[in-house]
Symmetry: C2
Subunit: 269 residues, 2 copies
């Protein structure tokens, strides 16, 4: 028996990535077969459940509407997304952002003072990552005495129906090199992001299991917090992930449905 | 007396950066006062002279036309630019590029087979660095068994009249991170690029002096080849360059005219 199945006995809470686990991103999204029922089965078994996403193309409200449309019954309180998390950080630290984000995320920042920026926040801006917009963000940073760059995630790419697309991490690295600085990540794989979701469930890291399709940001990030983590072979999964030089998942499963079947079979047995 | 002035006695050849040393880039360019005469004085003194530029927004021919327009008498044979250099490399290695470059550089590649690409070449593409174009380059790379990324220089930014602009190195770092690869640089600070210019002059590294405004790519690159190198306080120079953690110029001069005056005073004295 795989070691992670042995540890399932003490699992009290589950963290799920969304894109690539619940549905395939892009356009309206396509549900991954068995995932809707898998989410229901987790809840019925009495396990705590939160969704940890790096989605930053839309507000949390719009994102939930999309999830509901494809068949999921999920509420705002269950979702941890970098948009709301960064707004809290900006308020706490008195930071006024210059934003380079997707138009769909802008309403999240309506209550945030954006005058005379003293930091730059970038998200998965997609087509908004024009040369002009990236250059503007660069000019803001290079003029700051102590440049503060906050990136909503640090993913390399994600999969949409028409192929792989560059993610925000690529542009974080670009600005880091341009200004010779280190950016801060809000979202996965940042420890604070996972820990906030765990705290909300009232579950310790060793009692939690993360399931995602990103070997570095989902699996590696969760493991660094002391959680066990599974990689699903859906979404952006590629076979070479199973030979990743730095991160080894506690288990690999074909999809969320298979993971949940295995978990429920071994829970409290 | 500064140590570099002592070594000037044995100097036989000079390499000059162009943008920020001969003229300020952007639009038609503005000559830096005294630089036209300084170039003439170098030639009259019997010193060998070549121009080493990372300019990749135009073909070498167009670039020379621009230099002539602002008052310089420079021919194609005197200029080392990454466009012609990369074309030679592509031919030698049987590489067929997917190009992400400035429209102005495209004619340089007219004789190059670009069908079924087996490498990606990026230059200072400026507004052509859209999300869509960078994503296309990424998709080509990620599908190659052994991705080959060639970057025409690795500068962070350069100065135009309206402010600082992101340079090609920033996008090289972006694609390197996206694909988990190392790009190859053609142009400064690559050793092969400096050595080709030296060989063309028939001058050994210890007999040559590089003068540029970029502490890393001009000064650091030349020093790694065994040349002495000066930084001018024009172009993209910033005072903090004189405290750079890794590179220390052999000398700092206010501009090219001052450098040439000092060189000619100490030559063979």
């Amino acid at each position: 028996m795989a070691e992670w199945l042995d540890s399932v006995k003490s699992v009290k809470g589950i963290l799920l990535d969304v894109c690539g686990v619940l549905y395939d991103c892009g356009g309206d999204g396509i549900v991954i077969p068995g995932s809707v029922e898998a989410v229901t089965r987790i809840k019925k078994a009495g396990l705590k459940l939160r969704f940890c996403t790096n989605e930053s193309q839309a507000t949390r409200e719009k994102f939930i509407t999309k999830l509901n449309l494809v068949g999921y019954d999920i509420s705002a309180e269950e979702i941890f997304a970098p948009g709301p998390a960064v707004c809290q950080i900006l308020k706490e630290r008195g930071l006024r952002p210059h934003l380079l984000v997707h138009d769909g995320l802008l309403p999240e920042f309506e209550q945030i003072d954006q005058s005379n920026p003293n930091c730059v926040v970038i998200g998965d801006a997609a087509d908004n990552f024009s040369y002009e917009n990236l250059n503007n963000a660069f000019r803001h940073l290079i003029e700051m005495e102590k440049p503060v760059l906050i990136s909503l995630g640090k993913g390399r790419y994600y999969k949409e129906r028409d192929g792989l697309n560059l993610d925000v991490g690529v542009y974080m690295k670009a600005l880091e090199y341009a200004c010779d600085i280190q950016g801060e990540v809000v979202g996965k794989p940042a420890k604070a992001f996972f820990m906030a979701a765990l705290a909300d469930m009232g579950v310790e890291p060793h009692e939690a299991l993360m399931i995602g399709d990103d070997i570095v940001n989902d699996v590696g990030g969760a493991q660094q917090c002391g959680m066990k983590a599974l990689q699903v072979r859906t979404g952006k999964y590629r076979p070479c992930d199973e030979c990743h030089p730095e991160v080894k998942a506690d288990g690999y499963v074909n999809n969320l449905a298979e993971a949940v079947t295995l978990i429920l079979e071994h829970l409290n047995n």
